[in-house]
Amino acid sequence: MGKMYEVSNRYNNYRDYTKEFTEVGRSIRRPDGADKVKGKVQYTDDLTLPRMVYGKLLRSKHAHANIVKIDYSKAMELEGVLGVITGEDCPIPYGIVPHNANEHALAVGKVRNWGEPVAAVAAVTEEIAEKALELIEVEYDVLEAIVDPREAVKRDDLRIHEDAPNNISYEGIQVYGDPDKALAESDYVLEQDYYSSYVNHGFIEPQSALADFDVATGKLHLYATCQVPHYTHQQLAKVLEMPLSKIRITVPLIGGGFGGKGVASQADFCSALLSRKVGRPVKITYERSDVFATNNGRHPCYMKMKLGFDKTGKITACDFTNLMDGGAYAGWGIVVLFYTASMVHIPYMIPNVRFDGKRVYTNKPTCGAFRGLGGVQPRFAMEQMLDQAAAHFGMDPYEIRMLNAAESGYTAMSKMYVPHTEYKKCLTECVEKSGYKEKHGKLPFGKGIGLSGGYYISGTSYTLYLSYKPHTVATIKVDEENDVTVYCGATDIGQGVDMVMAQMAAETLGVHTEDVTVIPRDTKISTFDLGTFASRLTFATGWAIRQAAEKINAELKPVAAGMLGIRGDEVEVQGGEFYNIYKPNKRVPWRDVVSSYIQTNGPLTKTGQFTPPRRKGIQQGGNIGHSPSFGFSAQIAEVDIDLETGKVNVVKITEAGDCGVAINPQSVEGQVHGSIGMGLGQALYEEMKIAPDGTFCNPSFHDYKVPTALDMPEIDANIVDAYDPSAPYGAKESGEGPIQPTIPAIFNAVYDAIGVRFTEMPLTPEKVLNAIKEQKAKGVF
C-alpha cells in the first residue's frame, strides 16, 4: 500500500492557508463538562481505595531552626496510628531543576520556612492522624530568620543553606550589545526602581495525593494533583530509589494549577513513603494553610530598570537589575530568574540589553512558577516606563509602543526568534475598541485609562534535564469499536487541553470532535509529555497529534480511493466522510473505510511526536526564553478611584490578543478572563504577609483575598485575526500572555486618574489615599 504523506501534507497546507477548518476554531462544549456540572467527575481527594488510610504532615512553627530531636514514640502508641516518618526516611534531595535540587519531602536537620514539614503520620482516620501530630515532640534550636532578600544577600554570617554564600541561590549576568555605550549616547534615559509582590496561585483544589505501594510486586501507583506527572515521576524514582518502570502516576482531574502544581508536592512523597512503610494505600490532602506553606507562587522582585531612547522615541538600551526573593528552596528558581532576563527582549525591539540578576534565599515558603512566570515582573516596570517616556516625547503611549513593536521574523539580541506576531494589531484593536485616544489624559480627576502590552512564550525549547528526546508524543488508535482514541500524557488543569486535542485530531482526520476520545494523564497508559507549563500544550500536542493523524490518513486514503474508484490524490476527508475532491458528491463513510482497512490490514495505530526547534542561547542562562513561537496581547484598563477611601475600582478592561488561530475561541476567552482576574488581584490587594520572624500571617482565604464576582470589571476580550504558519493549525499560546499587561495597564490608568506613579504592588487603598492627599495638598484638585 502506497504511503500518501505528500498528498496529505500538501492538502493540509492548503487548508491551513485558506483556514478552511471545520473542527478547529469552533467553540464546542468541553467533553468533560457534563460530568463536571453533575458533580460526577472525580478529583484526587474524591478517590478511595480498599484498606486506604490517611496521612497528615507536622509542620514547623519556626521559620529557621535546627532540628535537635524528634520523638514520635507517644504518637506510635496511639491506637489507629500505623506509622510515622521523618527526614531520616527521605535523605535524598529532589528538585524540579536537577542541578539545583535541595528540597526534601521532610526537613533533614533544619527547617528553613514556616510550615516546612518535619514528620508525617499515617492513621486509620484523619482525626487520629491529627491527634498523633500533637503527640510528636520536636526539639528545635531556633535561629534568626531573614525574610528580606536585600538583607539576606548581606548576611553571609547567617546562611540559610551552608553551600550558598550570601544566601545567593543563583546569579547571572547577560550582556547583549553595548548597553553602557548606548545609554551614554541616548537622548533620554529613564531609571526607576520597582517592587513586585509575593502572591499565591489560590487554586481552589488543594493538593492531594493517594499512594498505593504494592509490597508484593514492589510497584507504586500514585494518584496526584500534578501538572507535571513526568517530572514528579522522575523525582519519586530518585527519592524512593525505585526504577521509573515500577512507578505509575495517574492524574485525575485537577482543580486549577496555574504553575502551583508544577512541582511534586511533599504530599506526593510522604504518601508514597508512608504507603511503603505501612503496606496500605495512604491519602494526604492539604488544608489551605498547607497550600500556603508550600507556596511555589510568584517571586517578589526588587528591580531597577534603566531604559534609553533616541530622539525619535525608539528604545536604544535596557539595563535591568533584579534581586529576586526565592524563599527557602531552589524550586523553579533558576528558570524564573533567567525568564525575567529574557522577558525584556520582546515585544519591543531593544538593540542593547544587560541583565544582572540574583535569586536569594530567605526564610519564607519557596517561590516558583506562577502563570506568566518571569514576565509579569519586568513587564510591570517596562510598560509604565514606556508611558513615562511617551509623555517626555509628547507622544501618545500607543504611538511609542507601535514605534518599538517587534514584527514577524524579528530576532532579538538574545537570538529569541519571533516567527509571527500581530502585536501591533493587538494594540490598534484595543485602542480603537476602548476609545483610548479620546479618553487618555482627558478624564476628570479620579478617573483614568491605561494601556499596556505583553507577550509570552508558546512552549519551551528545552527539557529541564537537557534531554533531546521528543517533548510530546501522541498516539492515535482508529478502530470500529471506539472511532478515534488519542493517547497523550498532556495534563488538563482546567484550561481545556483535552478538548483542544480532540478538536485538532478531528480536524486532520476529518471526523467530528465528538467521535474522538482522549486518554490523558497516566504515565502507564498515555504517551510521553513533559507537562503543563510554559504554555506549551496546544503547540506541542498539536504538532504531535497532527503528525499521527496524517499518518492515519495516509493509510486510510488509498483504501477510500479504492472504494470510490478514483486515484489516491483525489481523496479528501471531512465531516466523517471520504470524498472525491473533483466530484464532492461521490462519498464513502469514514467508518466503512476504517472497517475495510482493518479487515485487510489489521489494527491501525500511528504515533506522532514534537521536538521544538533548537535556537541556542549564547550566554549563561541564554537558553531560557527560547520558544517555538510567542503569543501577544494588549490591554486597556479604565479605573474610577474612590477619592474618599482610595479604593481603585477597575471599571472595564479591553483586551486584544494574538494567539494565532483560536482552536476553541470560547476557551481562549476564558483564559483571558481568568488572566485578567488574577492580574487584578495582584495589582490591587493580593499579598502573602510574612512577619519579621518568618511567621506566615495570612495563610487562609479569609485573610489572603482573591477577587470575587463583585470585583471583576466589564471585560471586552478580542481575538485578533492571526495565523502563525509555524504553528499547528496556526495556533499558539493564550494562557499566560494575557496576564502580563493587566497590572501595568491598571497602574498606568491610576496615573492617568490622579497623576501619581506607583512602583510597588499591591495598590492598596491606603497607598492611594495617601497619594490623593498629597495631590490635594499640592492643589492638583
Partner: protein, 161 residues
C-alpha cells in the same frame, strides 16, 4: 458520643452514625460518598462546599451534620433531571464556557440556582452578590454571570425550573 441520624439528601434518606463534631461536608463526601461537594478551604471562605439546606445555600464545611437531621439537603448530584439529563442551569454553564477546572462549579451552580429560585428576575449586581461567596480562580466569573443570566431569562420565558 456517636449517634445515628437520618439525613435526607437529594430526596433520599441516609442513616449515618455521626459525632456532634462531624461536619456536613465530611459526612456527605466520606460517609455517603457523594463527592460532587468539594472542599477548597475548610473555613467557609471559598464556597466550593456549598449545598442547599431547605432551599438555602449553606457552607457544608461550617455546618455540623447533626443539625441537619430534619432538613432537606440538595447537593450537586441532586440537580440534574430525574432521567439524568442536565438541568437547564447546568446546560447554561456549559454553553457559556462557565466551567474550566470545574472545582468551584458544584457550589457555584447551587448558589446560582438558589438565587433564581427565590428571585427569578435578578439584576446583574444581584447575581454577582449571590455568587460572591463562591471563589473561582479560573474563569474570571464573566462567563459564569452570563450563564446565570441566560438561565434566568429561560426561567422568565419558559417557566423552566
Amino acid at each position: 458520643m456517636k449517634q445515628l441520624i437520618t439525613l435526607n439528601i437529594n430526596n433520599q434518606n441516609y442513616d449515618v452514625i455521626v459525632t456532634p463534631m462531624d461536619l456536613l461536608v465530611d459526612v456527605i463526601r466520606k460517609a455517603i460518598g457523594l463527592t460532587g461537594t468539594k472542599k477548597g478551604c475548610g473555613q467557609g471562605d471559598c464556597g466550593a462546599c456549598t449545598v442547599l439546606i431547605d432551599g438555602q445555600p449553606k457552607l457544608s464545611c461550617l455546618t455540623l451534620a447533626i443539625t441537619c437531621a430534619d432538613k432537606k439537603i440538595i447537593t450537586i448530584e441532586g440537580i440534574a433531571n430525574e432521567d439524568g439529563t442536565l438541568h437547564p442551569i447546568q446546560d447554561a454553564f456549559l454553553d457559556h464556557g462557565a466551567v474550566q477546572c470545574g472545582f468551584c462549579t458544584p457550589g457555584m451552580i447551587l448558589s446560582a440556582k438558589a438565587l433564581i429560585d427565590r428571585n427569578p428576575n435578578p439584576s446583574q449586581k444581584e447575581i454577582k452578590t449571590a455568587i460572591s461567596g463562591n471563589t473561582c480562580r479560573c474563569t474570571g466569573y464573566i462567563n459564569i454571570v452570563s450563564a446565570i443570566e441566560s438561565y434566568a431569562n429561560l426561567v422568565a420565558e419558559k417557566g423552566a425550573k
